[in-house]
């Protein structure tokens, strides 16, 4: 990476391709949610009204400290819960009103890897992504195999096809999990902390891959992450959450303000701007 400092960076607005001439994919309008243990008890957690948009080919990073509402927001976007108020639209259709099958054909959710109980081959796992297209008992068709094969190729996983899932490295497994999501042929990809168990090389590789998928295959990608610098480097838009509130939405340069980040993450931070116009966050001197 370049080592431009804050001093020699341009002050003009960064050259980030935010206004691509691409269609609106996701529209979140004043969506809110409240979670309570039982119907009668007071809500344990609320997500204040959040509004933002995402277009085709865009990567949006959802940032915030722990318990800020990132996963809750992702649950709403995935249609697993209905917003208390407001609307979430994907390609013009309200997510909570879609039937599960249609929804799973449009939106794919990649969560932190869950432990597999019984041995499974990589291709069997990827084929599971074809579930929303299947008929009764869902025996997979030739087309399903073709799509799963394509999905695996898109993540560079052809060679992994016949391996056992439990014998993959962290990076390989993450790619296979992504391939299962791609096999759903979605237009919107949601990823919940996909870089969590990866080393820095794996993290960069995954985000490069997501960038390429967004650019070439026109996916819209939403990533929940703790990686401020990788988010800045690879995403077009940032949604910053704090204590269940959507604090700011914008390009990395618009969101990465020192005072704001310090307040949200409760740590002394400094923000520099790199030569490519993307901000970079480092730990402040007086930690």
């Amino acid at each position: 990476m370049n080592s431009a400092t804050g001093n020699d960076a341009p002050l003009a607005p960064p050259a980030i391709p935010i206004a691509k001439a691409a269609g609106l994919r996701l529209k979140v309008e004043q969506a809110s949610y409240a979670y309570a243990a039982t119907d009668r008890s007071a809500p344990k957690f609320t997500l204040g009204p959040a509004s933002f948009e995402a277009r085709e080919q865009e990567i949006v990073a959802i940032l915030g400290p722990n318990a800020s509402g990132k996963s809750t927001l992702l649950t709403l976007l995935a249609g697993l819960a209905r917003p208390l108020s407001g609307r979430i639209e994907v390609d013009g259709a309200e997510v909570s009103l879609l039937d599960t099958r249609t929804r799973a054909q449009q939106i794919a959710l990649v969560q932190q890897e869950s432990e597999l109980l019984f041995p499974l081959r990589v291709w069997e796992y990827v084929l599971q992504g074809r579930y929303p297209y299947g008929k009764r008992l869902r025996f997979e068709s030739d087309e399903d195999c073709l799509m799963a094969g394509n999905a695996l190729a898109q993540v560079g996983g052809d060679a992994l096809r016949d391996r056992w899932m439990d014998q993959l490295s962290g990076g390989e497994k993450q790619r296979v999990i992504l391939a299962r999501a791609l096999a759903q042929q979605p237009s919107l990809l949601l990823l919940d902390e996909p870089t969590q168990h990866l080393d820095i090389g794996g993290k960069v590789e995954l985000l490069r891959r997501l960038r390429r998928l967004a650019d070439e295959k026109r996916y819209t990608v939403l990533v929940v992450t703790h990686e401020l610098n990788l988010a800045s480097e690879f995403s077009d838009r940032i949604v910053l959450l704090h204590k269940g509130k959507c604090l700011r939405v914008g390009t990395p340069a618009e969101v990465y303000e020192r005072a704001l980040l310090e307040e949200v993450f409760e740590a002394p931070l400094e923000v520099e701007t790199r030569a490519n116009g993307r901000p970079r966050v480092i730990l402040g001197a007086n930690y």
Partner: protein
């Protein structure tokens, strides 16, 4: 990449069915009264096409009244327990789960023992009471195992284990009140035993009823097979992919419990089959539940028929409990397959 197809399921099942048929013929062949394989096959064939008057009466009695009902019962018990085991392993997300883990067998045993205390020597009472005991336990564990109105794997497991040990304590207490003969019967029942057929008018009508219940419960579980594949790789993602996780869990819980109750009420608690067979079938044919459920049913049937044949004949004239034999016959196979996979 070779996905599972219906024809592969049929081919594998047909092969296992052939093995089961061979096991049944071996079991018919062995016993105190000598009868040749040719005689067995002609007797079966004539029986099936209804030419009863051409069958020598001693053959008819040995094959149709003594050995075949016991084999049919073995098939029913083995198939039920293995299917239930495969179901519970998915439901509880635990490879160590077996059909008895949630206390269904303890509930059945308590029902049986109560019938021995209250109404001894009433024909059919022990089976009916055992099934009632299983049903009550199923309901109780269901209500204890819910969290936020939905079945939660961990809560269900804890509720079941506590229920099982509580019921076992009551059983131990009641067993001290039994007389010698009933006590021996109860001990055999707790170990699992196929020797006692109930005194019913028509054994084959009764058998048809039992197999009908099996077909409904196992069929219900099979409808959830592809959903279970997804649930096993992550509940929330399965939900997102369109699986009604709550409904699937409920169907599997009820179906697996009914299958366990069915097996236990006719044979007592035959151990090991429900744990072992699903694992062996996974090692042989993969983890896909669309194949695992039918192969487990057939594999369980094969194991019990062979184990019961050993139990009947190896220690002749005394009979050994079939439960001990299932472990004796199954464990070496299991260890062999496990080591082969590790290599």
């Amino acid at each position: 990449m070779r996905p599972l197809t219906p024809s592969r399921v049929l081919v594998v099942c047909a092969a296992l069915f052939a093995v089961l048929f061979v096991a049944a013929v071996i079991s018919l062949r062995l016993g105190a009264y000598p009868i040749s394989v040719i005689d067995i096959v002609t007797t079966l064939f004539k029986g099936v096409i209804g030419r009863w008057d051409e069958i020598p009466s001693e053959f008819s009695s040995v094959v149709f009244d003594i050995r075949l009902p016991r084999i049919a019962l073995g098939i029913l018990v083995g198939a039920s327990l293995s299917t239930a085991g495969a179901g519970f392993q998915a439901l509880l997300r635990n490879p160590l789960a077996d059909p008895y883990i949630l206390g269904v067998s303890s509930g059945a045993a308590l029902g049986a023992i109560i019938s021995l205390v209250v109404a001894p020597h009433t024909p059919g009472a022990i089976q009916a009471a055992a099934f009632a005991g299983a049903a009550v336990t199923i309901a109780a564990v269901y209500f204890l195992g819910r969290r936020g109105g939905k079945l939660d794997s961990a809560t269900l497991l804890l509720a079941g284990i506590v229920m099982a040990s509580f019921l076992s304590a009551i059983i131990m207490f009641l067993m001290t009140t039994l007389s010698g003969r009933d006590l021996r019967g109860m001990a055999f029942w707790l170990m699992g035993d196929l020797a006692t057929l109930p005194a019913v008018d028509s054994i084959w009508k009764w058998m048809a009823f039992l197999f009908g219940v099996f077909a409904i419960a196992a069929g219900a579980m099979y409808t959830t097979a592809s959903d279970l594949n997804l649930i096993l790789t992550g509940e929330q993602e399965a939900r997102h992919l369109g699986v009604n996780v709550h409904r699937v869990k409920l169907v599997v819980y009820v179906a697996a419990s009914v299958l366990t109750g069915l097996a236990v009420s006719v044979s007592g608690a035959v151990g090991y089959v429900g744990l072992l067979v699903p694992h062996v079938m996974r090692m042989m044919f993969g983890s896909d539940y669309r194949l695992l459920i039918p192969t487990s049913a057939l594999g369980g049937a094969i194991l019990i028929v062979l184990a019961d044949t050993l139990a009947r004949t190896s220690g002749s004239p005394t009979e050994l409990p079939v439960g001990a034999m299932t472990a004796l016959a199954g464990a070496p196979v299991f260890i062999y397959l496990m080591r082969r996979r590790v290599r």
